[in-house]
Symmetry: C3
Subunit: 358 residues, 3 copies
Amino acid sequence: MDDAGKVKTVEELAALIGGRVSGDAQIGIECVASIGSASVGAVAFVEDRKALESAQDCAASALIVPDGAGEHARGIAHKVPAIIEASKPRLAFVLIGRILHPQKRREPLIHPTAFIAPGANIALTAYLGPHVSIGEHSTIGTGTRIEAGVVVGDDVTIGIDCVLHPNVTLYDGVTLGDNVVLHAGVCIGADGFGYVRDDVGYHKFPQIGTVVIEDGVELGAYSCVDRAALGQTRIGRGTKIDNLVHVGHNCDIGERVVIAAQTGISGSVTIEDDAVIGGQVGFGDHVRVQSGAVIGSKAGVLPGKVVRPGVWWGIPIQPLDEYKRLNAHMGRLPQMREEIKELRRKVQELEEKVHDQG
Amino acid sequence: MDDAGKVKTVEELAALIGGRVSGDAQIGIECVASIGSASVGAVAFVEDRKALESAQDCAASALIVPDGAGEHARGIAHKVPAIIEASKPRLAFVLIGRILHPQKRREPLIHPTAFIAPGANIALTAYLGPHVSIGEHSTIGTGTRIEAGVVVGDDVTIGIDCVLHPNVTLYDGVTLGDNVVLHAGVCIGADGFGYVRDDVGYHKFPQIGTVVIEDGVELGAYSCVDRAALGQTRIGRGTKIDNLVHVGHNCDIGERVVIAAQTGISGSVTIEDDAVIGGQVGFGDHVRVQSGAVIGSKAGVLPGKVVRPGVWWGIPIQPLDEYKRLNAHMGRLPQMREEIKELRRKVQELEEKVHDQG
Amino acid sequence: MDDAGKVKTVEELAALIGGRVSGDAQIGIECVASIGSASVGAVAFVEDRKALESAQDCAASALIVPDGAGEHARGIAHKVPAIIEASKPRLAFVLIGRILHPQKRREPLIHPTAFIAPGANIALTAYLGPHVSIGEHSTIGTGTRIEAGVVVGDDVTIGIDCVLHPNVTLYDGVTLGDNVVLHAGVCIGADGFGYVRDDVGYHKFPQIGTVVIEDGVELGAYSCVDRAALGQTRIGRGTKIDNLVHVGHNCDIGERVVIAAQTGISGSVTIEDDAVIGGQVGFGDHVRVQSGAVIGSKAGVLPGKVVRPGVWWGIPIQPLDEYKRLNAHMGRLPQMREEIKELRRKVQELEEKVHDQG
């Protein structure tokens, strides 16, 4: 990953993120790094004043710190020649990282080993790598990069500036917006899991809907989004999904949703904008997660449940506070049993005494 | 997905499923659709009389309803020109869907970019897509469709009318029956996870068995079925498995079993015919699930357990009724603690009184 | 999988593992098999004296038994002409299996459909199968076998005698040691899942680190190891990982660690040497698992937790003993409720009596 961009001065970088420099503003920066590993030419960051303590031996050429912490930082990180104050140091670090380490670019190319079916429409500035296969009447937008071994079905639409990493599979008829990133092996549009049983066995319910992935979505390696039975499965704009996640048929995932690795979402689940879902969560079908809900890792959500805003936890899910309270109660079970035993002893004593006195 | 079949009349469709038509039997139908999205030319269905209420504004050209509900349906779904009564409306919808939306067909082809090793035996009517690779002495049956990027090892046998979606991997020596559907990236025959440890580290136990996938099995995207250490791993006829499922070495999965997404099955597990397994379930090794058992999502089954017919839930699994009862008890823990506190107060009072009276 | 090696005599095999033969030492052995399925020409094993009972009808040509159990074995397994005593029968079986069933070998080859970018450095004895793609400046070591459809990015280093099964993806810049085995579809080096949110949405944290997979590691089908944000993600020497496992960015997995299928490991988790992790376990970020810890399947480990040596279980994890004790307590909840009810009745009686006596 050494596609590093060109060297920038601290001054240039600070200007780009609206930061204030103290120290040597003309020093050259060529990469981002962590506090612990940074050396000459690198910029690092500390999130808050407390974290500044860890920067004592920092060997970076520049350090991004919170607004107002510049002087304090110069005192602690005395080896660092330039300090940049920023209102949101982590975000500033991200933006500077994007400049110093620009995304890999490929020159426009249709690799000679790629196969393009009749009627496909490939933008002149697209990149199709080795052994890529594009189906009939599919469209690839400008600047889109399709890496080796990707298989695109028929009648697929892919927007501009997308990146499809190796061995992705897009089934027939699915649609990707712009700036979509699909990591290795993502699978969009496989049949939903729906069958009707009769005496002989299972018959597949029609799986003739489609999938729409909106602008700016990123999906992790081997995550799967099934096509709708009828209608469409949707992943909303700006949503980020980790590796090995399963999204069932007819799900409607909103915008800016975050879903961590290995979570599984049954059919017809709705997740509204800005929800945050942990890893290895399981959703029964027809769940609705409302905007503002946060669901902890490994939670289980029963079919049909409406998950309101707030933090949820456990199997089945409950508000985090209740979950904690119940867990605390459970931890006291041995003590409760002791107390009951003690009470029984005392009550028996009392009964005997009262009987004697009676 | 617009490989729609030819238009059929309501009369033709009703005849195929043994249904009874009222209204305009000659109207043309070209697709299936849901109640809510159906428009002219579509057939929809309602499962039961209660669901008929949702058909008030249905704009379909035909509606499948339960036997005997025809007249009632004509009253409610007054915009729908044809009603088909069927004994099992959902099944009728599935069968009609299969006729109106036939599975994608490919003309027989060996794509020029496909690689076929010496001694492989490819049926004349098979389809091998771009960048497919077939190993030595492997056999591909008539009508089988192998999509782009699939890798078939040596000595593999694939039956007739199978569909292997893109990027599937079959290791050496595995066997698929007829009408098997493998979604993108399914992996059959990787080594089982078995090692023997000595002072130096782990040595792989021999993984020299094989895998047999019987007729009519369907496996979801990226599901994995490991080869047996010795002997064979089997998936029985008509079994349906969802995405990202792991089936370990030497498992024996029966016929018409259903397994939802992300379930993991350790080595040497037996699941008998007609069992139903939810998503994200985990099985320890040497479990036996008996025919008639239903295991809820996210359940955990301890090694060696025999799971009898009935509905099971939880970690570790217990009968659903017991699970619910225990959950109810747990919900009353705070109240129990209060009651114990109250009892202790009362007992102390009593002790004091009895002492005073003594 | 019939790449069987050459036939060996019992005497030769026993010599290789330091075993002692009784019976016909010249009999020929060509394969390993289980007790139940072994026939002429096969060697089977029993782990301990108790298991010998299962060998009564064993039809193998040779049987490996524990040291000192030879005579006893000849009495029970009377059909088996040769008995080999070994101090560790299972390990002896593994070592003999490796000789009789050697790993598949490929003649050195660069398949004509493989694509090799400029500046890549492929050892003369390497095998590159059909439709393989190797990026710029990548290095493939001697004897390494890369099966069909594998995609290797730019600046990747692969050591000697590795096996990459079909459709593996290695992103740019990752490093594999020697004797690494990656099963179908393993993905090394995809971006870690880290974002910073502002008013507009999520911005990706720089994912510019790398991944190092050390010697002798084996990863199961579709397991994913993400690249570090900054720095490196490491899988230590001799570690074995099952199918569909997720290893997040910046994890440091030690040597000889075992991780079963579908486990998910968040970012910046450290797992020390020789730990054993079950299937479907979930780790929050910044967990440290100490050497000697064993974590049961389906367990959940909260972020930042230090897991000490011992056996752990449950969500969140607790020592197995405590987990069992708590489970036993929970099972007694109905009885506890009954006891509380009974106590309340008795206390009320007492109160009445004491009141009457007062």
